[in-house]
């Protein structure tokens, strides 16, 4: 037999370091399917077009490259929410919440949670075309645990999922929001030195899902996340991520608008310095009439930090009246910082309005001079300009209280440097 190529070798080495959780029934089958897809595809390597700007080695290698970080503070302290904690892999659920059924993946191995059966790994598999997402395949196959959240009505407060711990976790969450129901999900935590988290979200007609995530501000993290969402008619999906520091972050979002009049908004504000490498990769598919999508990503990079944005809008044949918007902007605070972007449009319907914009440059010297001339110290003036630059992305958070909370958090982080 011929020696395996490096990609197959890397894939086999990673798989060998993991154990396929035991069980039978639909979950075991979904894991087996994903493993098959993973073996056929292979884990990402630098040569893959979709990883041209981010080296996947540290996410792929069998053992995490970093040691365990401190737990960090809770960025949502003070926000009134139902809290779910995952600490070193142990899930603690809150008491009964009206409009919500919460179970864990571990439960699913024994109980037949039928609604999750049709979703687990299904959105991930669908989201692997036309671009393969092998890190998500790995997640579906080897997820150690995760939440199964079924939203059946209006939930009075946001649900805050706080994950902390010392391991190298692979978590897989599934959220299903029924017709007319709405959920706000907050996510925080330093999830081990390295983490691989996949979330599948199915929105029925008229359902709403608001997602707000904070990553950081601890420096030494290797994070790889995927969100797969499928939207029914008139459904609303919103996701926003605030990220600071963290050595290597790759956040992928794969969103499919399958019902007419649906809306998806995804945004992010990120800043970091030194060996900070932050990658937002978004793929939005319009497969229905009169849908709207927005992508708004801003990054502030300093001292050798690298920002990556790969965003794509695919408008399928027949998806008329699509309104697709995408903007990616970076502020480079010094000579060593870099921004690499690939904003793509692929359009097969004629009655659409799609646009994208991308800008990169240094801080506005005129604005800086103005502030300095008003007696603002340079450091403070730069912070003010950075905050106002990132605030344009924060505007994408619809909930006023949460938006304010994030703005304050951001100002606080910037002040601390």
């Amino acid at each position: 037999m011929m020696a395996a190529d490096p990609k197959t070798q890397a894939t086999e080495a990673r798989i060998a370091a993991l154990t396929l959780p035991e069980g039978n029934g639909w979950l075991a089958k979904a894991r087996q399917d994903a493993l098959g897809r993973l073996q056929a595809t292979g884990l990402p390597s630098r040569r893959d077009e979709y990883w041209r700007y981010t080296k996947p080695a540290k996410l792929v290698q069998p053992e995490p490259a970093l040691s365990v970080p401190a737990a960090g503070e809770d960025p949502f302290a003070g926000v009134d929410a139902h809290v779910i904690t995952i600490e070193d892999g142990v899930i603690t659920l809150p008491g009964a919440i009206e409009g919500l059924e919460i179970a864990t993946l571990a439960n699913a191995a024994t109980a037949d949670i039928h609604w999750a059966r049709d979703l687990y790994g299904a959105l991930e598999a669908a989201g692997s075309g036309p671009v393969a997402r092998p890190m998500a395949m790995l997640n579906t196959a080897f997820a150690t645990d995760g939440l199964l959240i079924h939203v059946t009505g209006a939930v009075d407060r946001p649900v805050h999922l706080r994950t902390t711990g010392a391991s190298d976790p692979i978590l897989h969450h599934v959220v299903k929001v029924e017709r007319g129901a709405t959920l706000t999900l907050l996510e925080s935590g330093n999830i081990g030195a390295r983490s691989n988290i996949a979330t599948e979200v199915e929105l029925a007609d008229g359902a709403g899902f608001h997602h707000l995530r904070v990553q950081g501000p601890e420096p030494a993290l290797h994070v790889n996340t995927h969100i797969f969402a499928r939207l029914g008619a008139e459904a609303t999906f919103r996701s926003f991520t605030l990220a600071a520091h963290g050595e290597l972050t790759r956040n992928e979002a794969v969103i499919e608008l399958t019902g007419d009049d649906a809306t998806a908004t995804i945004g992010g504000a990120a800043f970091g310095a030194g060996n900070f490498h932050h990658d937002d990769t978004v793929f939005i598919t319009h497969d229905a009439v009169n849908c709207e999508s927005r992508q708004v990503f801003k990054k502030v990079l300093r001292d050798g930090a690298t920002g990556v944005f790969q965003g794509k809008i695919l408008v399928k044949e027949g998806a008329q009246k699509t309104d697709g918007y995408q903007i990616s902007q970076s502020l480079l605070l010094d000579e060593d910082a870099q921004f690499l972007a690939k904003p793509e449009l692929e359009i097969y319907a004629d009655d659409v309005a799609c646009s994208h914009g991308s800008t990169t440059g240094a801080i506005d010297e005129t604005a800086l001079f103005y502030l300095r001339s008003r007696g603002v110290p340079k450091r403070r003036a730069v912070d003010m300009l950075v905050l106002s630059f990132l605030a344009e992305a924060v505007e994408e958070i619809a909930d006023e209280d949460l938006r304010e909370h994030v703005t304050e958090l951001l100002a606080d982080w910037l002040a601390r440097g």
Binding site: A341, E344, D350, C354
Partner: protein, 503 residues
């Protein structure tokens, strides 16, 4: 070109546009074939064929070695698949790599000796190979406007006009096969220095089998006294055209260069893989304009040219400036990215493009702006139009290297879709590795504006005229960047290429 008598021009409607739409029949105008006795090299590509081409061109040993080296590389390469184009596998052994009219076996000493059939071909194409006329299409010609033409027919250059007059200014304008013999020092120094033989699959193929093309050298401080142009005609069936163009603008030199291309209508696809290398030294400027009108295939997608072209400008000198302007209306498949290496400090690159794809055409085209020097500037304006079942992709790279301080790029890519069975795609790569540079990229995709169409229709224009007018407006920024003769031709082409796309 005259307006049909029955056309009443309404207020606010540009007479030229109406003329353009009305006076042309809608089918591919240059689809006829010249009956001429040809001499072919045997079909297929082998080392022997490479040797044969070199021998036919009476080349020195170093040139043959360069070709053979490229050929040996090429056989190990794989055809690239990353472009958004889809075509049946090309059988590179089922092509002729060399075809020349028998009458060209002895190279004519002057234009008077050229086979009348060939002269007639170029006349018919509106490119008279005479030394008093400029490109047809604009009348009357201003007295002082002259265009020198190098005419390439299948694998050979049949003649170059105004050579003597250009020589007086020190300008060398000839076929590349002549340049290899007459100016080996220049060719040796610059050939492959912008596009190395190892550059990519098609460039490597071209390096092995290029049969002819144009060569231009503008000496120090000379502003070329007239516009130069090359007209490429593929005539023979199952024959690929592989031409190579090399233009060197020495310090402070300036030249405007035009390129046109057509081919007969045939049922089988034909291959065209060209390389164009531009070298710019300090303060030099080159304007390179192309109207690409290769046979695009018929309405069913049968036949057409596969156009795989590598074009690159190396702005080696400080303050040098290059401007690529292209109007891409032809070819069944287009794979083409005219690029600028902005190596010299303060150098500038510009790229203006209109790409129109109708019926089953597929275009994957764009540019690369590689900023290496300080204070370099680039500008990209791309207009893509899709109709019928066509796919049109803009693919581009803007790269700011760490040392390219204080550089600027502005990119605008707009796509227009006519009908709901075509596709328009944008794939830009933006790589910024220093913070004193500023990069801006904007792209939009939309359909022909209903209000504008309604306005035109209410003025009595039929739908096709209205669409042509709106599309010409959409392309205006690029059309304005073209030399006058080409702008006229391009405007007409825009209208013709879209015929049959509405209703």
């Amino acid at each position: 070109m005259t307006a049909l008598d029955d056309v009443q021009v309404k207020d606010g409607v540009d007479q030229e546009t109406v003329d353009a739409v009305k006076s042309l029949s809608g089918t591919y105008k240059h689809g006829w074939n010249t009956e001429i006795e040809m001499e072919f090299a045997p079909k297929g590509l082998t080392e022997e064929i490479v040797r044969l081409i070199s021998e036919k061109n009476d080349e020195p040993e170093w040139m043959l070695e360069w070709r053979l080296d490229a050929y040996r590389r090429w056989v190990k390469l794989e055809e690239p698949t990353w472009a958004m184009v889809d075509y049946p596998e090309i059988d590179f052994q089922d092509q002729y790599y060399y075809a020349r009219p028998k009458s060209m076996a002895e190279k004519p000493k002057s234009l008077d000796e050229v086979d009348p059939k060939l002269l007639e071909t170029y006349n018919k194409l509106g490119i008279p190979l005479k030394e008093q006329a400029i490109l047809a299409g604009v009348e009357p010609a201003p007295e002082d406007r002259k265009v020198a033409v190098d005419a390439v027919f299948d694998s050979v250059s049949v003649g170059t006009t105004f050579k003597a007059e250009l020589a007086k200014a020190g300008v060398i304008f000839c076929s590349i096969s002549e340049a290899i013999k007459d100016h080996p020092e220049l060719v040796k120094k610059y050939l492959g220095s912008v596009i190395p033989a190892s550059d990519n699959y098609y460039a490597t193929l071209n390096a092995a089998v290029f049969s002819d093309g144009s060569f231009v050298y503008i000496p120090k401080g000379v502003r070329c006294p007239m516009e130069l142009s090359t007209y490429f005609r593929i005539n023979a069936e199952n024959t690929g055209q592989f031409e190579r163009t090399l233009i060197i603008a020495d310090e402070g030199a300036y030249v405007s260069y035009l390129e046109g291309c057509t081919a007969p209508q045939r049922d089988t696809a034909q291959l065209h893989a060209a390389c164009v290398e531009l070298v710019l030294l300090d303060d030099a400027e080159i304007k390179y304009s192309t109207v690409q009108n290769w046979f695009p295939g018929d309405e069913e997608g049968k036949g057409g040219i596969y156009n795989f072209v590598t074009k690159r400008a190396d702005c080696r000198g400080a303050r040098s400036k290059v401007m690529w302007t292209q109007v891409e209306t032809g070819s069944a498949v287009t794979w083409k990215y005219p690029s600028c290496i902005l190596r010299g400090d303060d150098s500038q690159g510009e790229f203006y493009s209109i790409a129109i794809a109708n019926n089953y055409q597929q275009a994957d085209t764009g540019t690369k702006m590689v900023h290496l020097g300080k204070n370099t500037k680039s500008r990209i304006v791309s207009k893509g139009i899709s109709a019928g079942k066509a796919q049109n992709t803009y693919r581009g790279l803007v790269s700011m290297h760490p040392k390219a301080k204080n550089s600027r790029n502005y990119t605008q890519c707009d796509s227009l879709l006519i009908g709901d069975t075509c596709g328009a795609h944008t794939v830009p790569y933006i790589e910024v590795k220093n913070n004193s540079s500023r990069v801006e990229h904007e792209a939009t995709t939309s359909k022909v504006d209903d209000d504008q169409l309604f306005y035109c229709r209410s003025r009595g224009m039929d739908e096709e005229e209205a669409v042509a007018l709106v599309v010409n407006g959409f392309c205006k920024e690029v059309l304005q960047a073209l030399p006058m003769e080409f702008a006229m031709e391009a405007q007409q082409l825009v209208a013709i290429s879209l015929e049959g796309s509405v209703g």
